[in-house]
Amino acid sequence: MLTRREILRRSSVLSLAPMLPAFLTRTAIAAKPERDARILVVVQLDGGNDGINTVVPYRDEAYPRLRRELRIAGDRVCKLNDEVGLHPSMRSAADMVQDGRLAIVQGVGYPNPDRSHFRSMAIWQTASPEDPGPASNGWLGRALDAIPGRRDPSAVFIGRRELPRALRSRRAITASFADPSDLALALPADADAQHPDPNASDLSVFVQQTVAGGYATARELAEANGRRAKSKSAVRYPDGELGRQMQLVAQSILSGAAARVYYVIQPGYDTHQAQGPAHSQLLGELSRSLRAFHDDLAAAGRADEVVTLAFSEFGRRPEENGSLGTDHGTAGPVFLAGKAVRPGPIGTTPKLTDLVNGDLRWNIDFRRVYATILDRWLQIPSESILGQRFEPVPILKV
């Protein structure tokens, strides 16, 4: 476990040497990015983000009644239009809307919402509102599996947790790390492990491939060791874990990594009590990280290639609870950032005067967002990944 001291120590080491990762590149250096190698970065807002206090319906007559303590006054929000405004700590996000780099899809959910963190997260990560079952792979894993001639590791997960379900795949390999030093191998890589036994059981094949994938990543790191970083970027990321992770993502991309998907997790959204300050801090860090990240890419001339998706497993209940917090709810907003998006709020704002059993109605099935990203952005036909056709949502200019 990382102690706070340890985290501080590591992050200071990082800020001194933020050069790390040429290491995920497949070949010596992919000097020019491939034309169609568009990248998706996913930020998982873990715990159930309170969408109502994120995209605040400040004009809704029911809002002050449902949020007696947690209400954010209309003159404090970053107004997006006559109905909604972003949380006051999301100034950076509001600026991104202004300069055309942030879309907000409102009221995203799915039929028969599940209020369990695990079930709902599994639903979002597998894109199956019916019981996904323990064996099914993630929506991104399935998408990466479907890329012909895919270059692995085709996804990168940054964090100390287990691999998110969304990235589970049959073949595609995700590299994961929390820190550049995590990928250096202290042993001579076991050359024998490069030749999986085709007659082995499914589990053995999985283990052999994972071991081989880990060693391949380590080897690339070792090879990249000599290649020093180019100029240090001038963009300032916010302090904290998410900013640090988004910076690692930018560094990986700028170093020419082959990965098409990056995944990071911002925990802490399960705000059952004393929500106000914690939620404000989270949203501020999220907004500033998103902006720093996209500024960083823009400074390197790579802004066209990346779209960031931020989602949470559910929203929270419109009526606050008795401990200055909110309990698990249903629909919530999804964010999409990048030069390719159609900026501003999209879809109808869920009405606080029109609740079902005290919860918001959802308007847009999250799989419509996924389908749009798959078809229009990653250019992977969505129908086979999601099992059916979904009407696209007008969130992308491409």
């Binding site: 476990m1 963190h117 695990f118 590791p153 001579p188 071991v211 059952h272």
Partner: protein
């Protein structure tokens, strides 16, 4: 052959009592055996070997005479500080040196089941106390464990029980109680959650101790799963414990812990659930049923599970007999974290997802690096390096003529296929360093192999 999925294992020509089976028993029901313990188990047969596991008498080496006193001393010292690293080190000390590894395994299982994280609790003493409580009830009736957990300060803080009051419900504990601790998802309604939250009102923590505040308790009538009464927390627990879904979930949980991927089918789980239900959800006896079963020793249950980081780390130290001096438990704790399982910090209330998700690029590299650090003697307390005498261990085990195959059997439970491990063999013969260093590095390579990640 009897039709019960849990009929007892009898060695037969197709299911011989052999190294792979003795090895599997000691890996799954503990944290690996030394070679001489495996030898003894093989000689005495499965019944005696299992008896010893259940009785806490399976270890012959590396059990200090003053284990209990030392463990208490370390635990209390860790609890008195606010240093969670020391608490992790204390638990690893217990796993390494207890005479009764099965109880530690079950304590770890319930830590995963009632997954409480120091990240939010921020109180080393109550995390320590929860661990002691879990251990006390780990092998008894589940009802006692559950009732103790519903009074456990760390768990109550973790799930916001103190802010769940009459008229101001906080559903966090009620929901996880039903979804994770007892029934499992899909076996209750949203209304049941709301009503259960009311039943749990009044349970709180005052100055680190459990307290019941009658003035915050809603003592009105509640209706949970069709049962209507003025339920309080204990009576709510009774209602949940009585549900078939709870015994099913426990059976599933135990099978996931002790059996390989997909080994227990629905029928086997249902049968175990039924016997649990008929036996007041007695955990220890259900575990015994699993460990003595034909299913446990069936070929498809061998090498069929990814070892958890804690199993991997403690198992390697035990199998390689690193007892005097032992590696620094603080360093071992750091390694289990790097490999993906920081004790007292489960990723969330659902516990560690386990299974295949233990392995990723990063954790594979971390496992290999742990193997290197252990074999190169870099885990000694203090910062000096102690070269391990692994060739000596092979010699003492009567295998000085084929030491590398010996370590492969010890660490993977399977014979070495030298064709599949040519580079490793070459390492032990030709790479740099002294003869001992070369050999130890080859053993580290064995420990990093795909085979050694499975139990």
């Amino acid at each position: 052959m009897s039709s019960s999925p849990w009929s007892r294992y009898r060695p037969s020509r197709s299911n011989l009592w052999n190294l792979a089976r003795a090895w599997t028993l000691r890996r799954r029901a503990g944290f690996a055996a030394t070679w001489s313990e495996l030898d003894r188990d093989l000689k005495d047969g499965p019944d005696t070997a299992i008896d010893r596991v259940l009785a806490g008498q399976c270890r012959t080496a590396g059990v200090p005479a003053d284990f209990a006193a030392t463990a208490d001393l370390l635990g209390n010292a860790a609890a008195a500080t606010s240093d969670a690293d020391r608490l992790q080190a204390w638990w690893l000390y217990r796993m390494l040196f207890t005479p009764d590894p099965l109880t530690e395994r079950l304590t770890l299982l319930w830590h995963d089941h009632f997954a409480t994280s120091q990240l939010k609790v921020e109180d080393v003493e109550s995390m320590h106390d929860q661990n002691i409580t879990i251990r006390r009830h780990a092998r008894g009736p589940f009802s006692e464990l559950l009732r103790a957990m519903l009074r456990d300060p760390a768990l109550l803080v973790w799930l916001d029980a103190p802010s769940n009051r009459k008229g101001k419900p906080n559903e966090n504990l009620a929901r996880e109680l039903m979804e994770l601790f007892t029934l499992g998802v899909g076996n209750y309604s949203e209304r049941d959650v709301k009503e259960a939250a009311r039943a749990l009102t009044g349970r709180t923590v005052l100055q680190g101790r459990y307290a019941f505040r009658a003035e915050h308790h809603d003592d009105g009538e509640k209706s949970v799963l069709g049962k209507t009464a003025r339920l309080d927390g204990d009576r709510l627990a009774d209602v949940l414990l009585d549900q078939p879904a709870t015994s099913r979930r426990l059976a599933w949980r135990l099978c996931r812990e002790f059996l390989g991927e997909g080994v227990a089918d629905d029928r086997a789980i249902a049968a175990l659930a039924e016997s649990l239900r008929a036996d007041h959800l007695h955990i220890g006896r259900a575990v015994e049923t699993i460990l003595r079963s034909e299913l446990f020793f069936s070929p498809r249950n061998l090498h069929a599970r990814v070892s958890s980081p804690v199993e991997f780390v403690v198992g390697a130290v035990r199998a390689l007999e690193q007892f005097t001096p032992p590696p620094s438990t603080l360093l071992l704790a750091e390694w289990t974290g790097k490999i993906g399982q920081a004790l007292f910090y489960p990723p969330n209330v659902g516990g560690w997802p386990g299974g295949r998700s233990w392995l990723s690029g990063r954790t594979v590299i971390a496992r290999a690096n742990f193997a290197a650090a252990l074999a190169e003697g870099r885990l000694a307390a203090g910062s000096h390096v102690e070269t391990l005498d692994l060739r000596g261990l092979a010699a003492r085990s009567g295998r000085s003529s084929d030491p590398l195959p010996f370590f492969h059997e010890l660490l993977t439970g399977q014979p070495l296929d030298e064709n599949a491990f040519r580079q490793g063999v070459k390492q032990s013969e030709t790479a740099g360093g002294t003869a001992d260093e070369r050999f130890n590095r080859a053993v580290a390579l064995v420990l990093a192999r795909p085979e050694a990640q499975l139990v």
